[in-house]
């Protein structure tokens, strides 16, 4: 479903859903962002792949949450003193909250980078700045391409028995050889790319580009919904319904009808595009059982 959307729609939708909690200061919204972001992961990858990412995110979370109290010494509940200044519970919780937010937004952006393939980026930004879009798309293709090349090169070397015996020095030497080879190859490769680009008419003034994506009525619906959500939640946030005060003591905002409604709206809107995927998966599961 998301694959078939127009890149502009994908871009607006993902930005709305991830950036609204990022501009708020409320642990509940950040937690919702994290949960819906991880649900979104399930639409394109499996549990095994997600579990691989978990240790990295835990480390990321810990580092960010410890960063704040070591550099900001406000707060009434003192845990201990660092170089004569306070390490307070409030600063620690504020750090944990911002870590939650960054992690949640990070999860959403992983999904975004999956759905916004390089051709879609080119299509979206090509109209604004063709050169920048070309460079971006080149880079987005080149990085995985290069890592693949290095992997295969390493396998080659290992198979030929030239990778060393496993000791540290030998490994470093072999990796240096691989890097040198890779550098030469990438220079050659860039020349080939430049040649093929001129052959296809890059830089010619009068030309048209072929676009595979089409702007459907569903796109308009999603974009409109995104704007409505952004306006509504932005208004609620601006009114201070979600503002948590951390210093000098933590004061959580009181839950009102409006804040509960906006939380519900956020959950529904951020999960609405995954619905199709899960329904399909559900029916597919039953079909497999019956047959």
């Amino acid at each position: 479903m998301i694959e078939r959307l127009h890149p502009l729609t994908i871009f607006i939708y993902f930005l709305t859903v991830s950036m609204l909690p990022a501009f708020s200061r409320n642990p509940l919204l950040h937690l919702l962002c994290l949960i819906t972001g991880s649900v979104m992961l399930f639409t394109w990858t499996d549990v095994k792949n997600i579990l691989k990412k978990v240790p990295f995110f835990i480390l990321f979370f810990l580092i960010i949450s410890l960063f704040n109290p070591f550099f900001y010494h406000n707060g009434d509940t003192v845990l201990f003193y660092v170089a004569g200044r306070r390490f307070s519970l409030e600063a620690l919780l504020f750090g944990a909250d911002s870590a939650l937010m960054v992690t949640g937004v990070g999860l959403w952006f992983i999904s975004l980078s999956h759905y916004m393939t390089s051709d879609k980026v080119l299509l979206l930004f090509g109209t604004i700045s063709a050169k920048a879009a070309t460079i971006i798309s080149l880079v987005m293709r080149i990085i995985p391409h290069y890592s693949l090349y290095i992997k295969s090169y390493r396998k080659h070397q290992k198979m030929l028995g030239l990778y060393g015996d496993g000791s540290f020095l030998e490994t470093v030497r072999a990796e240096g050889k691989i890097f040198a080879g890779f550098l030469t190859w990438s220079l050659e490769h860039s020349m080939t790319t430049a040649d093929s680009m001129t052959a296809r008419g890059y830089g010619v003034k009068k030309r048209k580009s072929f676009r595979i994506c089409r702007f459907r009525s569903f796109d308009i619906l999603v974009i409109c919904l995104s704007f409505i959500l952004a306006a509504f939640l932005g208004l609620v946030l601006g009114k201070g319904y979600f503002y948590t005060e951390y210093y000098p003591t933590i004061k959580m905002p009181q839950q009102s009808v409006l804040s509960i409604i906006s939380e519900a709206v956020y959950i529904i809107f951020s999960l609405i595009l995954t619905l199709n995927h899960f329904i399909k998966a559900y029916y597919g599961f039953f079909k497999d059982k019956q047959s």
């Binding site: 707060g75 306070r86 015996d165 030998e170």
Partner: protein
């Protein structure tokens, strides 16, 4: 090179790298273990004495079956407040700068016991009354003593029971500052001088001097000899007074000579022919009262022993002190030994003292000495890292995992120790080196205040006159005030240049009230053009720390 040849070469290399790794691991483990032992065993002399004092308190607490020192004071000591042994403990706790205790309950029960003792038919032993009254005065600092007690103590005790009633009578009058009694202080001193034996000592009965009595007499004569109170300064000015002071000086010289001559080989003293701890303790107290350096004075040193070592002979295995060798621990002996140890501690350099004060509620029988955070956390993380490294080393057989784990744990330990993490109690209770007590001899007087009036928060810290050490900067005073008063403070400091910048005080930060808002300071009504970390204070300076919304324009 063929593959088989490479294998042979690599085997040698692998062994070599593994040997290096194993060596590194063992080296780190051994250094860690030895450094731990070193930490626990390296203690200065002051710490040793302090530990002896604490162990004696713990012995007494175990004897009475009390958990904390405060409960010992509130229950056991309050049951028999007139007991001289208990009073010794109380006096030692008061004199100990490392323990803070609450004596309100004890002083109340002591007052009640004094009144009861005076009014009841059984009566109260004269010396006991004198000593208890002095103790009451020291504990409570209260001069409003009931007239019945006062009358009995002043007019019916001195000289009633031999030499000891003179001794304690003079002690009481010195401590409480009584001028009128059945004897004046000069009269008592005269009486005491007359009682001196020919060998220079004092005794209860007989012609030969006794150590205990001599030492105790010296203790009470010391204030007069050193002219510690104004009373003596005026009393010894007159012609009679000067003659008396001359007699007193010669008497004390003779008494010290007597004590010095009878010191035993182990540094201890004997009373009635028996070497015992109480005599040693009393001699220590006498030296302390006379301001003679206890451990370094040549007259009280024997070969390879001093008074401290002489006293420690009598320390029992159960941490109490014995009367004389090969007897069980004795309450009286321990109480006097604690007093003597406290005197030695006060006399010593106190180099190891880190300014920590233990509240009596937290002083327990079980020695609770947790490793500080700064050792536990790096140790745990290092164990974690090295464990992971060893695990991966076993699995993958690559030395790089071990080396990286070691490097990571060392890096972490380095960063962690550089952060200087300290627990809340140790940080907040530390004795200040910048802000001195008002009675301190050195230091300069300043007026100091923190004011956030421009944002309607009033005084964060009201204007107070402080005594600060010489050469301290505005920043030193501000950070110490905030630490002691538990006011939030955030700053950036470059320890190399002494540069300091105040970001926030009391949770009010810069830029909170506009782009030009922040904390400023004013000395004697003028805003200096240098940083708080540079401005050195002079005597009589008036320092104001102020919050400004408009870089100081709104403060005039």
């Amino acid at each position: 090179m063929l593959k088989s040849e490479r294998m042979i070469v690599s085997k040698g290399r692998k062994l070599f790298s593994r040997a290096i790794c194993a060596g590194l691991v063992w080296f780190c483990l051994f250094t860690a273990i030895f450094s731990l032992f070193n930490i626990s065993s390296s203690a200065s002399e002051g710490d040793e004495i302090l530990e002896d004092i604490y162990e004696s308190y713990r012995w007494k607490m175990a004897l009475e079956g009390k958990d904390t020192l405060q409960s010992l004071i509130d229950n056991s000591f309050c049951e028999s407040p007139l007991n001289g042994t208990n009073q010794n403990y109380i006096l030692s706790i008061i004199q100990n700068p490392t323990i803070s205790a609450d004596f309100s309950k004890y002083s109340a029960s002591l007052e009640a016991a004094l009144y009861e003792g005076v009014t009841s038919e059984e009566g109260i032993f004269p010396t006991s009354l004198q000593k208890s009254l002095a103790t009451y005065y020291i504990v409570s600092g209260n001069t409003n003593i009931r007239p019945e007690v006062l009358e009995k103590a002043l007019y019916k005790t001195i000289g009633e029971k031999g030499i000891m009633s003179y001794v304690y009578g003079l002690y009481m009058m010195d401590v409480c500052g009584f001028d009128e009694a059945s004897f004046t202080r000069e009269d008592i001193i005269k009486e005491l001088l007359n009682l001196q034996c020919k060998d220079g000592g004092f005794t209860l009965a007989g012609d030969e001097g006794d150590t205990d009595v001599t030492a105790m007499t010296l203790q009470v004569l010391a204030p007069a000899f050193l002219k510690q109170s104004d009373y003596y300064k005026t009393a010894f000015e007159s012609e009679d007074g000067a003659a008396l002071y001359k007699d007193l000086t010669s008497c004390i010289d003779k008494a010290i000579g007597f004590l010095s001559s009878i010191q035993g080989e182990g540094g201890d003293f004997a009373s009635f022919g028996t070497y015992c701890s109480e005599s040693t303790s009393q001699v220590i107290l006498a030296l302390k009262a006379l301001n003679i350096p206890i451990l370094s004075d040549e007259r009280f040193k024997t070969e390879g022993a001093d008074l401290y070592k002489g006293l420690l002979i009598y320390k029992n295995d159960d941490d109490g002190f014995v009367h004389s060798s090969a007897t069980p621990s004795n309450d009286m002996a321990t109480s006097q030994a604690v007093l003597a140890l406290t005197a030695i501690y006060q006399d010593s350099s106190q180099e190891g003292y880190d300014g920590k004060i233990i509240p009596a509620e937290d002083f327990r029988i079980q020695k609770k000495a947790p490793l500080p955070l700064r050792i536990i956390i790096p140790l745990l993380v290092s164990v974690l890292f090295i464990g992971l490294g060893v695990f991966r080393f076993i699995k993958r057989k690559k030395a790089i995992h071990l080396i990286s784990a070691l490097v990571a744990s060392l890096l972490f330990a380095g960063i962690f120790s550089a952060l200087d993490i300290r627990s809340r109690s140790s940080f907040e209770n530390e004795k200040s080196r910048v802000i001195l007590s008002s009675e301190a001899d050195t230091g300069i007087d300043i007026l100091f205040s923190i004011n956030a009036d421009t944002i309607d928060q009033g005084y964060v810290y009201p204007e107070t006159s402080l005594k600060v050490s010489e050469g301290s900067t505005v920043f030193d005073v501000l950070s110490e005030v905030c630490r002691l008063e538990k006011i939030q403070l955030d700053y950036e400091k470059n320890s190399v240049y002494g540069l300091a910048y105040i970001k926030g005080i009391n949770s009010v930060y810069e830029y909170e009230y506009g782009d030009l808002s922040g904390w400023m300071y004013r000395v004697n009504g003028e805003m200096p053009n240098i940083g708080v970390g540079y401005y050195k204070l002079k005597s009589g300076d008036k320092v104001e720390i102020l919050y400004s919304k408009n870089i100081g324009r709104d403060l005039e």
